[in-house]
Subunit: 314 residues, 2 copies
DNA sequence: GCGAGCCATAACTATTATCAATACCATGTC
DNA sequence: GACATGGTATTGATAATAGTTATGGCTCGC
């Protein structure tokens, strides 16, 4: 095997590429310019290729240098992941943990879950970010998040998920609605019912639509949150589907709405954790999901299951 | 950013895991045992975690050590890829290049292509391996191959492909066959024609079947190579589809078979290069494909196209 | 209880990474 | 054309560290 470069040399190359000059790059990595010069020169010798074009107005990477730069970034990222994974393996669920949550889950789940989580893992510092699934997954892919709580199923590449909870849909309508008196519903009851839904981008909209394949959304109105959605239902603009989690959290309390369950097999969505495939904190993400599940249903135990890959390659 | 470990330390950890003892691992990486001991100890200090259980009968990794080991392997693989990519970028298509080829391409394409390739890239040393697509793709994923020549389309994860040539199908039958006199064929002519095909595992079998969706294979006989296949056709056992490339290479010369083309749009398969997604030699694989295409059709130029990902994630 | 095998420690050495100082080189300004 | 400016390369001294040999101590199997 030919000689390998040093992580330090790769780090220097990255700094050089970012600052466009030996001297400024050296400053950025807290060494003197000759040190960095020598390191780059040795890197070039190891690789047998000129990586940098030295000029009077600074330094620029050669095409080969660009290729190596990209690889160097990957090596550094893997190395950093190793450190994180080691710390996580040594003492799981401690330290800062960046968790994304979708808006149709966050306000209803977190108040129940966060106190229990703090009690269970006092050293864990959960940083929250609320956003749509797409943007959360982007953040996972770019390592800006460690895990996310989302609704499943959801197609995505480079992302793995594990379901932790089933969230049943309930039908909500004004008290004078034709279905308000029905005991239980089946999806076919909604065949010609135009539903009020959240605006595009919310996965709840798609999951609700998939319940009633023949049903349609009212295209003239779309709510921006579940809270405004129930206000619209209360105003008599139509009916909608709500996740039980939100109803249990008091979303429709004292609203005077009729809320009806579905006959089994109940319609609903799965709530799950998601993480970047290969993430250093994948194991912790699963454990976090398990902790959340436990705090939702103390006593019960979910059957073990392998993490399922939503993407097909990686 | 916390302190990073050294590639050397990771290399030592890998050796330690593989040999199960400090002293033997040290021998394997050509250092003395105290050196390796100190390196592992420092690695543990950097990561803040005990990685190795020292015992009188050797050393074993802790669970955290196993996690770090897996990560370390990834880091090392990335670092090695960097070296390879640098060399490839500095002087593309030189040195050893491990190329896989499927059996329905190799005997007909290589005699035409290899001499031209040697002329074009004298420093390139092509090591060939002939195998079925599945096994070639496995080898690509495990880095045992740099690229492969296969027939497309073919579903696979972690693999990217680029088409370089269209290989038309020709219908071959005994001279007394009912279709032997037809000028040109359309796929519907094969509706009730039981075809002789290669045995399972050969992609040519599937590609041929996909031409005539209603056609069926003779399940009692399956050939192991195109050469035995034409022998079977000659014996009057039935008809088959052959790639033009094989016919052009003389597969049916002096066999006394009827060989008929299809009406446009002609049926066929694409021949393309495949490489592991993220491979250090991806660019070279594309260039190799281009060189092969050029040697097949001097003068023509294929339109530029981006490499297409067969997998959906990476 | 003793030898074999194995890891840890200590003291020393060789290597190399780093620094401060300086030489050198291209470019734009007066 | 002399000159300041902003950059890289070179040099020689020094500090840090990775490596070695020698040794000690531990556990296990006989």
């Amino acid at each position: 095997m030919s000689q390998l470069p040093t992580l330090r040399q790769l780090q220097f190359l990255i700094a050089l590429a970012e600052h466009g000059s030996f001297s400024r790059a050296a400053e950025a990595v807290f060494v003197t310019q000759p040190t960095l010069s020598a390191a780059i020169k040795e890197l070039e010798m190891i690789l047998g290729t000129v990586l940098v074009e030295r000029g009077a107005r600074g330094a620029a990477l050669t095409p080969a240098g660009e290729v190596v730069l990209e690889r160097a970034r990957r090596v550094m990222a893997e190395a950093e992941d190793l450190v994180i994974a080691a710390q996580a393996a040594g003492e799981p669920l401690t330290g800062p943990f960046k968790l994304g949550v979708i808006p149709t889950i966050a306000p209803f789940l977190l108040p129940r879950v966060l106190p229990a989580l703090r009690a269970l893992h006092p050293k864990l510092e959960v940083f929250l970010r609320e956003d749509l699934t797409d943007r959360l997954f982007d953040a996972l892919r770019e390592r800006r998040l460690d895990a996310a709580l989302v609704a499943l199923p959801y197609e995505a590449t480079m992302i793995e998920t594990k379901a932790i909870w089933s969230d049943e849909f309930l039908f909500a309508c004004p008290p004078d609605h034709r279905l308000a008196g029905a005991g239980k519903l089946s999806p076919s009851d909604l065949a010609d019912e135009p539903l009020l839904l959240l605006e595009d981008g919310h996965c709840l909209r798609d999951h609700a639509l998939s319940v009633c394949s023949t049903g349609s959304a009212r295209s003239d109105f779309a709510a921006t949150s579940l809270h405004t959605l129930v206000q619209m239902v209360k105003s008599g603009l139509g009916a909608t589907l709500l996740p039980r989690m939100a109803v249990d959290a008091g979303l429709v309390d004292q609203m005077g709405l009729a809320v009806l369950p579905f006959d089994p097999p109940v319609a609903g969505r799965e709530i799950g954790v998601a993480w970047r495939k290969g993430s250093a904190r994948a194991e912790e993400a699963i454990q976090l999901g398990e902790a959340i599940r436990a705090s939702l249903a103390p006593g019960e135990k979910m059957q073990d299951g392998l993490a399922t890959a939503s993407g097909t390659a990686g």
